[in-house]
Symmetry: C3
Subunit: 465 residues, 3 copies
């Protein structure tokens, strides 16, 4: 019976402390319709392969185009539609995933979620497929049933200010006990370089009942929509920018950029300045309304332009880039870094920043916390390096706990489980080195797995409204 990552009894003991604690998922991309509608999942391929860009990008890297994996095309052109064919393609190329987190997540999902113990291989492709497909037809494998089985105490989805939150309203109206909240993610009304920016802003204005024809109206619309999100339980916002740059513009200068954008006169430099400025605006809004800010800079989006052209965003074409924090965040920190009412959770895709910038910053400003190693770094080895490089200057209590950041609902428990195993393993190494007594390591274990994310993301107030 595989028991990944843990290699000592001490690590297993520490893991046992956290294994059965409820899951706190304050940052993810599950479609709320899934839980609002509670329809059965589709076939194994559409559930586990087609939407998983970790999987499709690896296969692409070895010459298997996303079309053959059923990934929809923007032009509506034909792609593979037979789920069994897609599944076999994965099984035949399963060796490509040796040593990767995708393999760990999928194997553990097969086993712990679906109870399928047969290892996947070219020869067992159909057997594994059929076993999972059979499970998916059972009522115990509907989304809400799984939500409860997973021990999810709270799940945050992510929506834009252009979203009417109807599915969250339905979830509340249904009276189902599961706590599903949203995260306020305004990138598509902030990034002036998006071709749909003006449309998005107008849509937000309608939903907010505000005239977004002026910068002041735009800010008001954002404030109103934040209140709508807070009303359905939201406790944080999320900001994904190319860089960590923050800029402290005057209202007048910001309004000029905004007006120029409405007239379609934005330069790339304007857009970068405006994104940076809006971080300060959002910080001020957070100080007022209490939303925790999450910043995750550092992705060169749609680096693979051919992939973007064929299949659009979020299909595995983003690549990390070097990311500076120490200078980029200074305007934000000068203005509000010492304010105890502000809480900012920082993520990175550039590991070099962990010991050099992020841990010293989080270990020096009350407003800052470090987000979990994320995306390309959400792996056993990278999570271990995270602890080894940030604990020195930030300790454990300036880190915000694990976030699964996933659109793959069925992988949620596995991802948390891997993080708990890695933390158990790291804490065990401190105990073994006489750097921490066992009882404190055990308390820390529970804090990292459960109490810290709950507190830092302000999820310790009960339930949705």
């Amino acid at each position: 019976m595989p028991d990944p990552i843990l290699t000592t009894d001490l690590a297993r003991e520490l893991y046992a402390v956290a294994r059965d604690l409820p899951l706190i998922s304050p940052h993810g991309h599950v479609d709320p319709a899934l839980l609002a509608d509670d329809q059965p999942f589709g076939d194994p391929a559409r559930l586990l392969i087609v939407p998983d860009h970790y999987v499709t990008r690896m296969l692409l890297s070895q010459g298997i185009p996303p079309d053959r994996l059923g990934v929809p095309r923007r032009d509506g052109g034909p792609v593979e539609t037979d789920p069994r064919t897609i599944w076999r393609l994965l099984a035949t190329n399963w060796h490509l995933f040796r040593g990767t987190p995708s393999r760990l997540w999928l194997e553990q999902t097969f086993r712990t979620v679906f109870g399928v113990e047969t290892p996947l291989s070219r020869d067992t492709a159909d057997e594994v497929y059929d076993a999972i497909a059979a499970r998916l037809r059972e009522p115990e494998f509907r989304p809400r049933a799984l939500f409860e089985r997973f021990g999810l105490e709270v799940l945050a989805t992510t929506e834009s200010p252009t979203d009417d939150l109807a599915r969250h309203a339905k979830l509340i109206a249904d009276g189902w006990a599961g706590r599903v909240i949203s995260t306020f993610r305004p990138d598509d009304v902030v990034d002036l370089e998006r071709e749909d920016w003006a449309i998005n802003v107008a849509r937000m204005g309608e939903l907010a009942g505000q005239d977004t024809g002026t910068y002041a109206g735009y800010l008001d619309a954002l404030r109103r929509r934040r209140q709508d999100f807070i009303a359905i339980g939201t406790t944080s916002s999320d900001h994904g920018h190319p860089t960590a740059r923050t800029v402290d513009l005057s209202k007048e200068d910001a309004a000029k950029l905004y007006d120029r954008a409405l007239h379609g006169e934005t330069t790339p430099a304007d857009a970068e300045t405006f994104r940076g400025h809006m971080i300060l605006e959002f910080a001020r809004m957070s100080i007022d309304d209490g939303l925790v800010m999450q910043l995750h800079p550092g992705a060169s989006r749609d680096h693979n332009r051919a992939l973007f052209a064929a299949h659009g965003r979020d299909v595995g074409g983003d690549i990390p880039q070097p990311t500076n924090y120490v200078h980029a965040l200074r305007p934000l920190l000068e203005a509000h870094g010492m304010d105890p009412r502000l809480r900012v959770v920082l993520y990175t895709l550039d590991e070099t920043a962990f010991s050099r910038e992020l841990a010293p910053l989080a270990g020096g400003y009350p407003a800052l916390f470090l987000g979990a190693p994320w995306w390309f770094l959400d792996t056993p080895d990278a999570m271990r390096r995270f602890r080894e490089t940030v604990t020195d200057a930030a300790g454990f209590y300036n880190t915000a706990g694990f976030v699964d950041d996933t659109r793959a609902f069925c992988s949620i428990p596995v991802r948390h489980d891997v993080a708990r195993r890695v933390d158990a393993s790291y804490l065990a190494s401190l105990v073994t080195q006489d750097r921490l007594p066992f009882d404190e390591a055990a308390e820390t274990m529970a804090d990292l797995a459960y109490h810290l994310p709950k507190r830092i993301f302000k999820l310790d107030k009960e339930g949705t409204p």
Copy 2:
């Protein structure tokens, strides 16, 4: 009985080789008045918490302002003065330090310096406080007695050319056997951006009996003051710049920058050029007078401006920044990198430079040696990464040995002890991997702990003058 870091018998055997070797401390910030006056230390809080910015910054990061920890304000405003209150605040928040070097240093200091075995916690705060306070009243815990007990063979403090070295003179005049020398640190007469630069230069001129109204006079004053430092035993200089930039200006161009500065006409670019140029001037002085040069670039000083405004410099508000060496040092290395009379010890706060730049440079130029991992990197994990990344290209003998860099006198033996443990652990791993026989590992152990720093910092000539 905790025995931190060491997890194998082999590591313990190698550690045993170095455990009792005398301490060489060629780079630190202990106040020489401490040893010149040999007065009893104050209370435990003022000794161990108030001046330790590693401790106060971590507490600040969790919302406890330095005022509540007794850190003096620049405006003389009120701060906490009751040492027991400050001590309890640390004890109550002791969990924040789990896994950090601060915890390791403090715990080991309590135990090995003060003989207090009770682990610190909220419940034991007073017990630990009282035990340490009692010790501090004993004559065996006066600075000179501790100096001898610590096995300090030599301790270098750090002074500016504006210092009259009166306390060092007193130490020599006293005839006490302890070897306390200084380090020549001219930053405050080199950095044109300091508001007190002109005052400092004038003060240096007075002490040197030189007219600093000209660039030539300024250089003469520096040379004279270096001789004053050498006369009280100094063997090295120390240069803390924001970057590692070196510039080889003509005397004429340097003189122009200097003159402009005297007239208050300095730009930030001028200041950076002048700092870079002065590295070459100091290298030339070192070739003449034999002082070892220490360069430690890479801190964004006073990043936390609110902290600087309230409490001034060196209270935990500095943050590391990305630091380039390969291009920055080239002017220095072209001019003098092959000169066997020059010895430069390089430090970094940017770990990415270890394998990419620093080890290849130190492993390729006779003048260069690598300083110990320092400040944010003076930790068990970072010291291990230092050896793992620099040994390939620089070996052990292009590294300069441990420096404690501390103003916390009582933590000196513990810091050296941790470094010795980490090196023992790394050397043991080489032995286990059949990459080094035990006898050579043991010899290397003693070299790293004692012989190398003594030789590289030119401390192998006997005693103070």
Copy 3:
């Protein structure tokens, strides 16, 4: 009996899978004359010390100039000529190499190639020297005999388009069974900053029978010469640029840069643009003729100018520099990154790019593969870090396998052996962590050691023509 790196039985079992597999050496710098002429090697010092810049640079870093080690001077001035004196100088300073790959390679070469078990030291210098010298006089120690004993299935040397390939022709004409091919390395006809660029281009033109007076003729000459290389078995090209920059110029703009260069009017910026542009030209040629492209950017060449002045290139004076891939490669990848006919193997000297840029790129573009950790990173610790940082996003099958990159013929088996040991050790850690079953680890082991490099460098077609 030392068995380096392996510390567990599991690692030893996995290593055993690969230990005796043939060696694939698709990237190296052995002089083909060695095998074409098959003359006995000279003395131990000229074989093992004088040409090994890893060894001479370490000794230089401790003040022993290359002259004393017999490294030839550009001015023909006197250098040490007595091999035994040179050898003793190494032995006397053997401690400098503790923990370095040079020591591992030399010790293993002494033992496994020459059968000399006596550890080198000041006292045993002559004994080891004499034992190796005696071996070198035996016919079993001639180059071709060693080639066969080493189990070299194929060895690629590296030549410029200005090389007439006469020695490779002789090797083919001789009918000797050893497969020795070349690699097409056009840097000296591409880098406009080289003082001999125009001469090199003219020489290439003569060999190709093309008029290089125009850019079109220059490209034709390159194409012809690639065919000449392919005719003697070449399967890849190799491009060593200061940066990874790629540029997609129009033919017209490229022709203008070329014309200006012929007239001696090149700026450094022109040269960088032209190098970047030529990567795209070579990619297009590769799509046509099938040569695998190797890119290895990131060295600041001849950083040590005094060393260059005295002894020329490739004697240990190069230093790595920070290297960007994500933006630099984008023009290449936009144009051809999705083309299955293109195969690009990327190297780096900047480890920070592994997890941040290189693994995501190789794990996202069909054309890209990751070359082995190279040069300063060809070490047990760095190779381990390579696997730990790239496997997450690139897996094993987007890595291209080990290359020895050496001019030291006798070190080839040892270098491959070290790589196999490190991979065995890493794979064992995955098995121990229940992240990979043993049978798949064993299959991966053989793939990394043999099958992958053979396939990725297109060496799976039989023999030389």
